[in-house]
Amino acid sequence: MFESLPHHFKKYELAADVRTLILLRKSFEKGLINTLGDIYIVLKGIIVKSPKEIGPFATAFYDYFLNIKINKNENLDNAIARSDAFKEWLDNLNDEERWDDKNDMRDFINKFLDEVHLTTFDIERVIQGEDILKNDDPNMKDDNPQTEFDSNRRITKMADYSNLSLEELRRRMEQVAKQQKSRHEGGSHWIGAYGNSPYGHGGAAKGGIRVGGAGGGKMARAVIGDPNFYPVDKKQLLKDDNMDAALASLKGIEEETAEVVLDIEKTIQQGLKEGGIFLPYEKEKLHQKLKVLLLIDNGGYSMYPYVQSVQKLFSKMKTRFAHDLKVHYFHNTIYGGIYEDAARRKFMTIKKLIQLDKNYCVFILGDAAMAPYELDQHSQDDWKQLKKKFKKIVWLNPVRPKMWNYTLTTQWLGQIFSMYPLTPQGIEEAVLKMNQQGKIIQ
């Protein structure tokens, strides 16, 4: 069942596959799913793997199960209000509910959301609490802070599938999903229309049943449109808001981890002292610390906006990972050395620079654009020396890759170094490349 589901969710760049279906099936068998609200919760647990996926997930869910299309920058309420599913649901409301003068559109949408996100647990709670509810005066709202909010909202029609057999339930859900795709009939089948409320006869149904506010609908509403729950555009140039994504990519730089190994020397020494009784001694394998060398082109206005964000990025990394970070500067290209300070007063010869440990990861940051005569043979040789010395070395370029071919010097430097755009994605690729380079020397 739901064979088309993985395909549909993949369109929203979510990882859904056969395993998703198997888990969904298992959830059905274990009785986790009886309502649409349950499906929302279960699928979310299975599919969503990062807060950035919650937004796309909610969008995909509303599209697949209710045929409600949420446009970019649109909030959930508006999307619902113009959907067929909602209109049909409204049509199916009985007159009493519809002409209740307290209800305005927002109340209807709240109610609709409540029904969409109604879970088995809500139903169980209502059934268990039946007596309490009957005796409970609905006008008394503030007696219990737990159910305080939402206490005005009730569900009159509750889709209770608990009497159905598993097979029947599945068949029905499948059928509805199909119908919704082909006939654009809206989602009311899911919610309400099939519902044979356990309160169908008798007093409680008239007044409706109070929902405790599982918050599913509320959460979905909060999620839609909140940038915190959507993926970062990894192809954008490095800025403050995608800093974290870039940081995540930077963390991919491989570090050797600590291992305990047999200390052969000490074992033999001590064993001889003990007269031939060899007790093994262990020692920690020294772990290679991450060392980063940052060479920044800070000359000229073209580079100015990037210098700061890059420094911030690497210093952020430093606070989270204790490591050795060196930052040096140059202007356009290097002639025999680099500068130790941003003002470019303290010169450091290239000879001194290449005396550094060869395990440094070197990031060169610059636009690589200059007059061809500036990048003369000497300067090119200097770059090549660096390349020879440091195996883990990449160039990050803030200029869009499309433009690289228009500048001669960029092409030349691009031949010496692997060059990547200064975007979270570019950094990610650079780090991958760097790890490969590291492997080769080992």
Partner: protein, 292 residues
């Protein structure tokens, strides 16, 4: 699992509905629950409080940068084993020489390899039915750790090193496994795929009020409102390190020592703000902002 009823939190712990659902689902499906979220939002508290509230045995594995699956599951103590076997040789030699006194192996026998297996929290949790296993801060682990762990967890079965003893559990009796992460490192996709995922969003003021009530049932209303307002103001300043729930509770713990009237004043004057703000830059920024 037998313990599959929904758990909604305890007196001290407010389990938000979404989290409760995810935790429930993980237990029903017999999968680990992976919780991510800002520090101080109660990720670690969930299994601790659940175990306490439901009277279940709890096993904790705090992950560090040197964690290995061996520590987590079980390790064979080669050093002890070698020592004991050499002691046996020594004892035999002593016997030959006619010496009475023997060296002790502390009750261990080299014949019985199980004596030298040091069980880690995972093996212990799997040998106790219906326990709770917490793997805390997995993002601190070396990169290969989550994948190794995955293999160990997905088989519901551990083979003890050297001794070959098998520790096995059934889907009904397996421990409720909770894994927490602060997102300092992206976890492998395959690993996440085997877990039920939940992200704890930062609680809105209404929820925060309930959380505070759980900890300070008798708190003064005005004090509560004031501190919540200030807390969310601080959070919206875009500080380098935004204060979290845990820190708000600590701050309230401090001001709550005083009489309500004094306490409100203290809150207004941002006294004891060190409980909330942890970097010098942020502190200076707040001072400028609030003109104090």
């Amino acid at each position: 699992m037998a313990h599959t009823e929904m758990w909604l939190g305890s007196e001290k712990y407010l389990c938000d509905m979404e989290l409760a659902h995810a935790f429930h689902m993980a237990r029903v499906l017999g999968m680990p629950l992976l919780i991510e979220g800002e520090p101080g939002t109660g990720k670690t508290e969930l299994p601790l409080q659940y175990a306490k509230d439901s009277n279940l045995e709890l096993f904790v594995y705090p992950v560090g940068s040197k964690s290995t699956v061996e520590q987590f599951v079980a390790k064979f103590d080669h050093v002890k084993y070698l020592r004991d076997s050499q002691i046996e040789v020594l004892n035999a030699q002593r016997e030959e020489k006619g010496l009475e006194k023997k060296l002790s192996t502390g009750g261990r026998s080299t014949e019985n390899l199980d004596d030298y297996v040091l069980m880690g929290p995972a093996a212990k949790a799997y040998s106790n039915d219906h326990s709770v296993l917490l793997i805390d801060e997995i993002d601190k682990a070396p990169r290969e750790f989550p994948n190794d762990l995955l293999y160990a967890l997905s088989h519901r079965k551990f083979v003890m090193p050297e001794s070959g003893k098998v520790i096995e559990t059934s889907e009904e009796k397996m421990p409720a496994i909770v894994i927490t992460s602060n997102r300092e490192q992206e976890l492998p996709t395959a690993f996440k795929g085997r877990c039920i995922y939940h992200y704890i969003a930062f609680p809105p003021p209404e929820t925060m009020r309930e959380i505070i009530f759980k900890h300070f049932p008798k708190i003064n209303d005005q004090l509560l409102e004031k501190s919540i307002t200030i807390f969310y103001q601080l959070r919206h300043l875009g500080l380098e390190r935004a204060p979290s729930t845990r820190e708000l509770l600590n701050w309230l713990k401090y001001v709550n020592y005083f009489k309500p009237k004094d306490a409100i004043q203290k809150v207004e004057k941002l006294e004891g703000i060190g409980a909330l703000i942890k970097t010098q830059m942020d502190l200076e920024r707040i001072k400028r902002k609030f003109n104090k």
